[in-house]
C-alpha cells in the first residue's frame, strides 16, 4: 500500500526535478554561450589602442572609492593603499569606520596621518550619527568617516551622501583593487555616459597569490582545497554567468566586493537598503525597478577584466556563514520585489530574467537537496535502475564540468592571469572535484539559508581575515 504511493511520489517528483534541471541547464548554457560572444568582442576591442593619451583626458569623471570597514584592522591598511595606488587619475578615497570595536581606526590614523575636520559634515549623510571626520595630512584625497555602527549599507550610504564625485566605487575592506581596475570598470560610463548607471567587474580570489605592496604580483591557484573550489566558482560566476547576463541586459547583481555606480542614481533611490543582508543584489534590483518605472533608457554593465582581488573564506564554517547569508539575501530580495516576478510592466527583466534567476539560484539548490534525499529512497525501493542512475549522475557531472570549462577557456583565452600550465591543470582538477561532495554541501547550505530566512535569523557572522602579506596557516 505504502510502496506504490512512495513510488508515485518519487516518479512524479523526479519528473518535476528533471524538468527544472533541464530548464536551468538550458538557461546556463545560453548564458555561457552568450558570454563567449561578449568575451570575443571584448578581446577584439582591447587590441585597439587609443591614439590619444587617456590619462590626460579632461573628460574622465571623478570617482569616490568608498570602503566600509567594520573590524578590519587586519586588512584595512592594504585595502586603502591599493585604492590610492590606482592608475585612474581622478579618485577620492573615503573610508567609513562603522563603529569598529578593534583597532581599525587606530591603524588608519597611524598609517595615513589623519587630522580631524573641525566642522560637522556640510549636509546630512543619511546614516547613523557621525563620531568624527578625518582628513589625511599627507594624502589630500583620503578621508575617513568615523560613525556609530549601522551595518555595511549604512556605512556605504555615509560615503555616498558625503562625496561630490559623479561616480562611486564600493569595495569591501578585505579586497584589493587591481591598479587598472577603475580604468576597466569606467569604460561603460565613458562609452555611454547618459545611459550607464552601474558597472561591475570580475572579482578574483586573492588567497593563493603573492603581493608586493598592495598589488597582486604573482597569481596562483591556492593549494587549499576549499579555496581552490571557490576559485573555480568565481571564474564560472564572473566570466560566464555575469558576462552573459550583461550581454542579455539581465544583470541582476553587481558584487558588493566591487561595483561602480552613478552617485546621483543611487542617491535618488535612497542608497543601500539597511534591511537586507545582500545589499548589493537589492541595490541593483532597485535600480532596475526605478529606471523601468520612470521609463528611463539605461544600462547596467559588466566588464570581464579582473578589477579586484578578494579573500575568500578558508574554513567550512566561515564559508557556510557566507553562503547562508547569500541565500537568505536572495530570498529577502525576491520577497521584497515579488511584484516584479513575471510582471510584464518590467519587460524582459520581469518576465524572463528574474524568474530564471530565481529558478536557477533560488529553487535550483533546493531541488538539488531534494534529489539527494529522494534518490537513495528510490534506490532502496528498487524504483531506479542502477544504469539509469549512473547515466544521470554522469550527465549532471558532465554538464557542470562543461560550464566550468567554458569559464576556464575564457580565462586562458582572454586574460591569462594564471601563467603556468600546471595552474590551469589544478583548476581543471578542482572543476571535476567540486562535483563530489562540495556541490552537495553547497546545496545543503542553501537549505540551511532557507531555514535562516524563515527563522529571521541575523546572519552576517564573523569571517576570519588575514593580512594580505601574510601566508595563512595551512
Amino acid at each position: 500500500m505504502i510502496r506504490p504511493f512512495v513510488a508515485w511520489v518519487v516518479v512524479w517528483s523526479a519528473i518535476i526535478v528533471l524538468a527544472i534541471y533541464a530548464l536551468v541547464n538550458a538557461y546556463y548554457l545560453i548564458v555561457h554561450a552568450v558570454s563567449l560572444l561578449e568575451l570575443r568582442q571584448n578581446v577584439q576591442e582591447r587590441r585597439v589602442n587609443p591614439s590619444h593619451q587617456p590619462f590626460e583626458s579632461p573628460f574622465l569623471p571623478g570617482i569616490a572609492i568608498i570602503i566600509p570597514a567594520f573590524n578590519e584592522a587586519q586588512t584595512i591598511r592594504n585595502t586603502v593603499r591599493s585604492s590610492l595606488d590606482q592608475s585612474y587619475p581622478n579618485t577620492r578615497v573615503i573610508v567609513v569606520n562603522d563603529g569598529s570595536t578593534d583597532a581599525t581606526l587606530q591603524v588608519l590614523q597611524s598609517a595615513f596621518d589623519l587630522s580631524v575636520v573641525d566642522e560637522s559634515p556640510p549636509w546630512d549623510l543619511n546614516c547613523e550619527p557621525i563620531e568624527g571626520i578625518f582628513q589625511s595630512e599627507s594624502i589630500p584625497n583620503l578621508m575617513v568617516i568615523d560613525k556609530q555602527n549601522g551595518g555595511k549599507s549604512d556605512a556605504l550610504n555615509a560615503g555616498i551622501w558625503l562625496t561630490n564625485q559623479d561616480l562611486f566605487c564600493a569595495i569591501d575592506a578585505d579586497s584589493l583593487i587591481d591598479k587598472d581596475g577603475l580604468w576597466h570598470a569606467v569604460i561603460p560610463f565613458l562609452n555611454d555616459p547618459t545611459r550607464t548607471k552601474a558597472s561591475g567587474g570580475t572579482v578574483r580570489v586573492a588567497n593563493g597569490c603573492s603581493f608586493t605592496g598592495s598589488q597582486v604580483t604573482d597569481v596562483r591557484v591556492s593549494k587549499r582545497l576549499l579555496v581552490g573550489l571557490q576559485e573555480v566558482e568565481y571564474l564560472r560566476a564572473f566570466y560566464s554567468g555575469r558576462l552573459g547576463l550583461s550581454r542579455l541586459g539581465s544583470l541582476l547583481v553587481i558584487s558588493g566586493t566591487f561595483g561602480l555606480f552613478r552617485t546621483d542614481a543611487v542617491r535618488t533611490i535612497g542608497g543601500y537598503s539597511r534591511s537586507t543582508v545582500t545589499e548589493d543584489l537589492d541595490l541593483v534590483v532597485r535600480l532596475h525597478r526605478h529606471m523601468l518605472q520612470q521609463d528611463v533608457d539605461y544600462q547596467i554593465s559588466f566588464v570581464p577584466e579582473p578589477v579586484v582581488w578578494t579573500q575568500v573564506p578558508e574554513t567550512a564554517k566561515d564559508l557556510s556563514t557566507q553562503r547562508r547569508r547569500w541565500y537568505r539575501g536572495l530570498l529577502e530580495t525576491a520577497t521584497n520585489h515579488r511584484d516584479m516576478i513575471g510582471n510584464p510592466t518590467f519587460g524582459m527583466l520581469g518576465t524572463v530574467a528574474i524568474p530564471l534567476y530565481l529558478l536557477s539560484e533560488g529553487i535550483g539548490p533546493l531541488v538539488e537537496t531534494y534529489g539527494y534525499i529522494i534518490v537513495p529512497i528510490a534506490f532502496l525501493l528498487g524504483i531506479v535502475d542502477v544504469s539509469f542512475f549512473i547515466t544521470f549522475l554522469l550527465l549532471i557531472i558532465g554538464i557542470g564540468s562543461l560550464l566550468t570549462f567554458f569559464s576556464l577557456i575564457s580565462e586562458v583565452w582572454g586574460y591569462q592571469q594564471y601563467r603556468r600550465p600546471s595552474q590551469i591543470g589544478l583548476l581543471i582538477g578542482y572543476a571535476i572535484l567540486e562535483n563530489f561532495g562540495y556541490r552537495q554541501w553547497k546545496a545543503i547550505t542553501a537549505f540551511r539559508g532557507l531555514v535562516d530566512f524563515f527563522q529571521d535569523r541575523p546572519s552576517w557572522g564573523v569571517i576570519e581575515r588575514h593580512p594580505f602579506d601574510e601566508e595563512p596557516s595551512e
Partner: protein, 151 residues
C-alpha cells in the same frame, strides 16, 4: 543634446579662441530646453569671462539661471561665475547664496567665493552654515573633479 553636449564639452577644453570668435550661439544655449546643454554652455562660458561682451550678455539672464529648476545647472552657473572671479561675479554669487536651497549648490558658491567672502555671505542669515561650508571648502577630498557626467 546628443551632439550639442559633447561639442560644448570639447569647446570647454579646447584652446581659448580669439576675441573675435563668435560666442552668441553658446550664450543662446543657456536657454536650451535640456539642462545638459545649459550646464555644458556654462562650462564653455566660464572660459570666456575675460570678454566683456560675454559677461554683459550673461548678465541679462543670470537671474533666470539662478532660478533654474535643475540644481546641476545652477552649480554649473556658480562654477562659471567663480571662474570669472571678478568683483561683479563674486557679488552675484553672494546674491545667489541668499536664495539657494540646495546644499551642494550652496557649497559650490562657498567654494568659489573662498574663505573671506563665504564667511560674510550668510546664506539666509545662517553664519554657522557659512562657517561650516568655508571649512569644508578647504577639504580636498570633497573636490568635484573635472567634467561632471550629465544628470
Amino acid at each position: 543634446p546628443e551632439l550639442l553636449v559633447p561639442l560644448l564639452r570639447i569647446l570647454t577644453h579646447s584652446k581659448r579662441a580669439s576675441e573675435q570668435a563668435p560666442v552668441a550661439a553658446v550664450i543662446a544655449n543657456l536657454e536650451h530646453e535640456s539642462p545638459l546643454v545649459r550646464g555644458a554652455a556654462c562650462g564653455v562660458l566660464g572660459k570666456y569671462g575675460w570678454r566683456g561682451v560675454v559677461r554683459d550678455q550673461v548678465d541679462l539672464i543670470v537671474d533666470e539661471l539662478f532660478d533654474d529648476e535643475s540644481a546641476y545647472v545652477r552649480i554649473k552657473v556658480y562654477e562659471m561665475l567663480g571662474r570669472w572671479g571678478d568683483a561683479a561675479a563674486r557679488a552675484k554669487l553672494a546674491f545667489a547664496a541668499e536664495s539657494e536651497t540646495n546644499s551642494r549648490a550652496l557649497f559650490t558658491i562657498a567654494r568659489n567665493l573662498g574663505e573671506r567672502d563665504s564667511q560674510s555671505f550668510g546664506p539666509r542669515g545662517d553664519h554657522t552654515l557659512a562657517r561650516r561650508f568655508s571649512t569644508w571648502a578647504e577639504v580636498s577630498a570633497l573636490d568635484t573633479i573635472h567634467q561632471p557626467l550629465p544628470p
